[in-house]
Amino acid sequence: MMIEVRDTGFDPWSEVAAYQQAVLGVGQFGATAVFIGTMRDFNDDDRVAAMYLEHYPGMTERALERIADEHVHAHDLLDVCVVHRVGDITPGEPIVVVAAWAAHRREAFAACRGIMEDLKSKAPFWKREERASGSRWVEHNTPG
């Protein structure tokens, strides 16, 4: 299992590919479900030039580890990898990648989706957006 909070940019594809190559056994997994959240340049129909993502060092990592652990057990996963960006982020940059490996697709999909939902509702991250109308902290998120 790999859980990381990063304050620098990353390429989610090569990140997950490298982790899989290093850790997963050939022939063991049949299903990999991956979600990548990327910063958009608009929100609520307003242009967003940049964002700052704050976290609580220590607590954020612990929350992510618990969420990942829960889903590894609930869905019988072979492995999971979560990388989450913090700090100053610009449109087009990846914010989060969640990858779940399982024998079958049902478990991989359910775990990947479940980890993302829990991450959004339980992991301590706070977002400040830079919009044309000014800088503001966002205290809600898009549903689902």
Binding site: L53, E54, Y56, G58, M59, R62, L119, K120, S121, K122, A123, P124, F125, W126, K127, R128, W137, V138, E139, H140, N141
Partner: protein, 82 residues
């Protein structure tokens, strides 16, 4: 007897500090810590708290050496996490 207090996001900006220490802590709850650092009577419903990196409530006890944090709902949050 001391307690470390951390504030995040707009709470940090509003109160003008990200971290402070209550040096003369004689015991009490998360709500008591909030009263001392904010000057407000009650922990607002929309402010979340953690003690030693775990989510906590206003009535959670705070002991010497604990780290207490206050922060807004998390990015996707609608109220307190389970």
């Amino acid at each position: 007897m001391a307690v470390t207090v951390k504030l995040f996001a707009h709470l940090r900006e509003r109160h003008g500090f990200g971290e402070t220490r209550l040096e003369a802590w004689s015991g009490g709850s998360v709500g008591d810590v909030w009263r001392q650092v904010s000057g407000e009577d009650e922990l607002p419903a929309h402010v979340l708290a953690a003690v030693n990196l775990d989510y906590a409530r206003a009535d959670t006890a705070v002991a010497d050496g604990d780290e207490v944090a206050f922060f807004p709902p998390v990015t996707g949050g609608r109220g307190r996490p389970r």
